[in-house]
Subunit: 108 residues, 2 copies
Amino acid sequence: MGLTKTEGYTQAQIELATVAKVLGHPARIAIVQHLLEINACIGNDLMDVLPLSQPTISRHLAELKKVGIIQGTIEGSSMNYCINAHRWREIRQMLGGLLGMEPGAQCC
Amino acid sequence: MGLTKTEGYTQAQIELATVAKVLGHPARIAIVQHLLEINACIGNDLMDVLPLSQPTISRHLAELKKVGIIQGTIEGSSMNYCINAHRWREIRQMLGGLLGMEPGAQCC
DNA sequence: TCTTTATATAGCAATATTGCAATATTAAAA
DNA sequence: TTTTAATATTGCAATATTGCTATATAAAGA
């Protein structure tokens, strides 16, 4: 298959999984961290930060954009990418809600 | 390719991505939520909770176990699964560290 | 012992992901 | 206008993921 079933889950579960999945690649983690750290918008300075080719970086950026984590604006012939602050807080809420739960007493 | 490059990233980035990736499926989110909520160890009660066949559930459980999120002990002819509390806190730290970062002023 | 229950594994088919080279595309620069 | 720089897209090959059915396996029960 390769196809993930979606019926039988809540919308929240699907949303959570979708975001987690996008964060589930070291290149995308590295991009997000970089954008959070340098606190500035970048074009493909990422070429110097990631061990990947330009087309591959472009695709990772597109995936991050698809779930709203980053946004990009055109600046002449280059792109300015940065974290979407609002969406970032939303994601913090979502994932934080899950992570914040306490496992209770171990029973195995 | 289909194969994720690992050179050129920090160990922390790879670890983060690995955990996020495992959480990147609604079935695995549902399993984790369920285990956190009922605060009890279960066998395949999950059959009643997920829209998946027993073998498929078993595989999702195996993936969660591989990264240490859950652990299982044999109980007669069935398995007791539960969240690994220690690992859970570790993951909260890791992911929380990323999520906690503030995007700073929007510039695009 | 035979059967049932609970689980895991193997094997398969379909789709998804990842990465690169090659090629568009678009704007700035010469 | 030609060239350069910065990106995105296409096309491809290799591997990964997902889900199922069928089949082990192992303990409990009859």
